[in-house]
């Protein structure tokens, strides 16, 4: 009888443990982007001054796109990191900020107070955020010289992460661009 109870117990709990073990192999809060490894959706957006940025025209140079907003606290923590990054890789990596559901006036005031690390692009209707499958700010996309999304960071970007992906993108030979 005890043997039977043991068998039933193992038989019911083992599949449950296997399912849970498989499900918790990674952070359930992180949803892998299906866009990594695929061409970045092209867009043409105007910045706060009305200057148009066309992503296709940046082909040949690595691009970092950060979806951000002033109401997003991690975005504010990321700000100095992008300031430093845009200074360090000036001319080598293009940093672009896409405003995620925020008032352009508020963004302009923020940039005026704290400095700007790149064009703040106005995403009318949030269509670019949808095309990039953005769940919420901050999300950062890394696009290589060929226009392929090589990595994506959800939430607060760490300096190590930025350094690692930037070095990887810069290590890609420029001759590989089409």
């Amino acid at each position: 009888m005890n043997r039977r109870v043991l068998l039933v117990g193992v038989g019911t709990s083992l599949p449950l443990l296997l399912v849970l073990g498989f499900a918790f192999r990674h952070d359930p809060q992180i949803v892998e982007s299906p866009l990594v490894g695929k061409p970045a959706p092209n867009f043409r957006l105007a910045d706060l001054d009305g200057n148009v940025v066309d992503l296709a025209e940046l082909r040949g140079k690595p691009v970092v796109i950060n979806f951000w907003a002033t109401y997003c606290v991690p975005c504010l923590y990321e700000h100095p990191l992008f300031m430093e990054g845009s200074r360090r890789w000036q001319g080598e990596i293009q940093f672009l900020g896409v405003i995620f559901q925020d008032d352009p006036e508020t963004i302009a005031e923020f940039n005026s107070d704290y400095g700007s690390w790149g064009p703040s692009l106005v995403d009318e209707g949030g269509r670019v955020a949808i095309a990039y499958g953005v769940y919420g700010p901050p999300e950062t996309f890394f696009i290589d010289r060929d226009g392929v999304i090589v990595d994506k960071a959800i939430g607060l970007l760490s300096p190590d992460q930025l350094l690692d992906v930037a070095n990887r993108m810069l290590a890609q030979p420029a001759a590989a661009t089409g």
Partner: protein, 182 residues
Amino acid sequence: MRRATALLGLLAALAFAVPASAQEPDPPPRVALPPAEGEVRPGLGVETSHELGDPLGRPLSGEELDRAVAEVAADIRCPKCQALSIADSGAASAQAMRAEARSLLSQGYTREQVVGYFEQRYGEFVLLEPRARGLNLVVWAAPAGIVLLGGLLVALRVRQRRRSADEGLDAYLRQVEQETAT
């Protein structure tokens, strides 16, 4: 007389002062004006056509479009919410996704194309009802499997009890036969 002169002077000063302040040019706008609702700036936006392909349906409008948008929205998870569809959520992301679905359906993209577009962008997580394939089959098959297994266990248990009851009755009858025979 002095009072009248002073009053005239004050009025003259005010007369010059008001137009002067009114004529001051407005400070230049710090940002480009956002478009009016529904206005689309030519040349701006995102290219989705090469990802969606050609529209496989016909452009919808009116009530038919409203129904199609509601159907698509009911299947898509709001990215900013917990287990809410974009139809049920008032979040700005959900509104933007509904507007995108409306735009695509009005251009002739089918319901499957629109749902597929969101899935391409956000991953399968964005579907409120996961597709019945791969590991997802566990989710679909588990309830039926559990019901079948439970039914099987109940049937076995009933059969076992019936058999043991029959065996007990047989033994009792044998005993009665033995006792009545002697």
